[in-house]
């Protein structure tokens, strides 16, 4: 798998990323706090968050950005294939399906009151 971990970022939470929904993290997000390690995988259907950074190498990140996954953009999780993978995300006026393995590399933050469903 091409999961290139960024060298700068330590990844102690990496194991947790496999969990479909890290509830505990979301509950921390009451006051405009940037979550360390929250990713698109943590979004449930209907949830929105702001993209913080893309943990991918140049070309792959560029492709994502061209499709609208730019840092600072609001992303809403949509429906998914049975089993939750891949999931459709609403971003910048279009709907893009991403596999979980890719969504895991897109770090998010919850700038305003997050809809903690």
């Amino acid at each position: 798998m091409a999961r290139k971990k960024s060298k700068k970022r330590s990844a102690p939470l990496d194991k947790d990323f496999r969990r479909p929904h890290t509830e505990s993290m979301l509950q921390l997000s009451s006051n405009n706090v940037t979550q360390p390690g929250a990713t698109l995988v943590d979004l449930r259907r209907g949830d929105s968050a702001t993209l913080d950074c893309i943990d991918l190498t140049g070309e792959d990140a560029r492709r994502l950005m061209e499709l609208g996954f730019l840092p600072g953009t609001e992303i809403t999780a949509g429906r998914s294939a049975p089993g939750g993978d891949p999931r459709v995300f609403q971003v910048d006026g279009s709907e893009i399906a991403l596999r979980r393995e890719t969504a895991r590399l897109l770090k998010i933050r919850f700038p305003r009151k997050s809809k903690n469903s």
């Binding site: 070309e59 950005m65 089993g83 893009i96």
Partner: protein, 632 residues
């Protein structure tokens, strides 16, 4: 950087414009993001028929056609693959880039550009305007999908946008044909160069997006409301349970309709061939020529042509699914299987189009940046059930599977047919798994698939598809198959003994069949089927033509065959086990010269086509052997 640097970048140029006429001097390129409607517009402008689908990544080569301007002049129109930027990564993007910058050897640099953007997603699509305008070529910015924009209450100030971009802007609907005259006006006019404004650093995507956002704001762009119906339909099609049920229902419906409602139509065509053949036979005097015409061509080619209604119905369904946007959802549902065998989601699009024909499917693997993934996809594409296998399957299933009901809406024939389609898919998945865990192991690239909004398929688009398929089908019948039939007829009529053609068994064709009989006997095939197997390596459906011709010429079976009833006649030569073996042989074998040629071209060498041919032949032989011996 593209991972495909080693592959041949030379695309086939299809100058399918008018032959004989003086080629027009002006050249205009159509470019835009994937699924923005370039090809629909191209078809509008040129009257040519390109395959269009509501699916990103349909055009992988450049296509060229001629547009006639109102004043009678003509212009080349070049349809380019969809790109999000001009930074080339995959081979289709490379083609678009090279054509626009004049680096494509055989295509001179275009004089002007038609930039097609989706008006319902203008802010993001405007990002492409920056690199295109910086080329300095005269550019018309075309905002497509005007009908949808209005319906969903979006708005854009065209004058302000044109002023911001320094280039003329037209709001059109290529599907409805609205606003096309503005494009002709641009093409016939002076075609001014764009006034170069401040453009962002092209390599910096966030800056480009910011720039596009500013332009959109100043042009008072109001994005349309979210597509209500698309959301509603997705709630059904991407529902965890209902989505899968709908998927299965759609597949069953397609085949059930073909068996129950189209087969009578086929009988009609069969009858037409039979009576017209009998009439011609009664008019012409007894001669070798009559024998060639009736036994070789009429019965041979005719037995393939009778499958035209079914093939068309299959393509009508595929067309509806593609044009409506459902296939993109099907791709999402099926992606998990692809991921499990190590294939990326992008392989799905070529594999889907391989259901029509492996040749365009293999060409469309150019959208895959990773070379190993691309070769893996090329290797498995010929396992998908192409439309040339379809008539062979139809013939054997109609002949050997009784039409009983399993469920009120499901017959045994439908089950058999779906099983055959599944068999090809399973084999493809198995092969991918083997390849991806051994020689073609590679790192994964992200799976990205844009979900288009659902749209009603237009009658025009569906009609054009069917017309196209008919032409392809009949052209094959009239060229490759006809040629093979003439050769077969000659081989079946030499050597002359006592001034008379020999019995089929003693002819060259018969001898060839007898020579290979020991090799195919273990599969349950006799020498007659053997002749069919040999000819079917030219094209799969030639098997049907060959059997038709053989039964026409062979005195033994001629009685069974006087009504072109191939289904009855073939029972003489195949047991049930042999029929299953034959189906499996056709599911696995690579009996297609065009596919071998295109694999050689796309992989730049004989290595992969040889590996593929050997692998598929071994699989076909072993599979058929096992089937014959298990079923008996």
């Amino acid at each position: 950087m593209s991972a495909c640097n080693g592959c041949p970048a030379a695309p086939v140029l299809e100058f399918s414009g008018r032959k004989g006429a003086v080629p027009p001097s002006a050249r205009v390129a159509v470019i835009g993001p994937p699924n923005s409607g370039k090809t629909t517009l191209f078809n509008r402008l040129t009257g040519l028929r390109q395959k269009v689908a509501n699916f990103p990544g349909v055009t992988v080569e450049q296509h060229t056609g001629v547009a006639q301007l109102p004043d009678g002049r003509e212009t080349w129109i070049i349809d380019l693959p969809g790109v999000y930027s001009l930074t080339p990564r995959s081979e289709d993007e490379q083609i678009a880039h090279d054509v626009l910058t004049g680096q494509q050897g055989d295509t001179p640099k275009p004089q002007a550009v038609l930039l097609v953007l989706d008006a319902t997603n203008l802010a993001r699509h405007l990002m492409l305007a920056a690199p295109i305008l910086s080329l300095g070529l005269p550019t018309l910015v075309i905002l497509n999908v005007a009908d949808d924009l209005r319906k969903r209450h979006g708005h854009v100030d065209l004058k302000a946008l044109a002023a911001q971009l320094g280039a003329p802007v037209a709001l059109i609907s290529a599907r409805q044909g609205e606003g096309i005259d503005q494009i002709f006006e641009f093409l016939a006019g002076a075609m001014p160069k764009p006034l170069l404004r401040e453009l962002p650093v092209l390599q910096d995507v966030p800056k480009c997006r910011e720039w596009a956002g500013h332009i959109g704001n100043r042009a008072k762009y109001r994005p349309p409301l979210p597509p209500k119906w698309t959301r509603r339909l997705d709630a059904l099609f991407l529902h965890p349970v209902a989505g899968v049920v709908v998927f299965a229902f759609v597949v069953i419906l397609v085949f059930q309709t073909i068996f129950n409602y189209v087969t009578p139509l086929m009988d009609g065509v069969k009858w037409l061939f039979a009576i017209s053949g009998n009439w011609v036979a009664s008019v012409l005097p007894e001669s070798l020529f009559r024998s060639l015409l009736i036994d070789g061509i009429w019965k041979g080619v005719g037995s393939v042509v009778v499958f035209l209604p079914q093939v068309l119905m299959l393509f009508l369904f595929i067309g509806i699914l593609e044009d409506s946007g459902y296939l993109a959802r099907a791709a999402v549902i099926a992606d998990r299987t692809m991921a499990k065998v190590g294939l990326q989601g992008k392989s799905f699009i070529p594999l889907l189009s391989a259901y029509a024909c492996a040749v365009p499917a293999i060409m469309s693997t150019r959208t895959i940046e990773n070379k190993r993934d691309r070769i893996a996809t090329i290797m498995i594409a010929p396992f998908m059930t192409c439309s040339a296998r379809f008539p062979v399957y139809m013939l054997i299933v109609l002949a050997f599977v009784p039409n009983n009901k399993v469920l009120p809406f499901l017959s045994t024939q439908t089950v058999a047919m779906i099983g055959l389609y599944a068999l090809g898919f399973v084999m493809a998945v198995f092969t991918a798994r083997v390849l991806k865990s051994s020689v073609l192991k590679s790192s994964r690239t992200p799976f990205l698939l844009e979900m288009p909004s659902y749209r009603w398929p237009t009658l025009q688009s569906l009609g054009l598809r069917l017309l196209d398929r008919s032409v392809v089908f009949l052209r094959r019948a009239g060229t490759v198959i006809l040629l093979v039939m003439v050769i077969l007829w000659v081989a079946a009529h030499v050597p002359f003994s006592h001034g008379k053609p020999p019995a089929l068994e003693n002819s060259v064709a018969g001898m060839v069949g007898h020579t290979i009989e020991p090799a195919i006997k273990p599969l349950g095939f006799n020498w007659k089927i053997g002749i069919g197997l040999i000819t079917s390596f030219a094209a799969r459906e030639t098997l049907i033509a060959t059997m038709g011709a053989i039964y026409g010429m062979d005195s033994d079976s001629a009685d069974d065959y006087n009504n072109q009833d191939l289904q009855k006649a073939i029972h003489r030569d195949l047991s049930t086990g042999g029929a299953v073996a034959l189906l499996i042989f056709f599911a696995f074998a690579m009996q297609c010269i065009s596919t071998i040629a295109v694999v050689r071209r796309e992989t730049a060498g004989w290595k992969w086509p040889l590996v593929q041919f050997t692998y598929m032949s071994v699989m076909a032989y072993v599979g058929a052997f096992l089937a014959y011996h298990i079923i008996g």
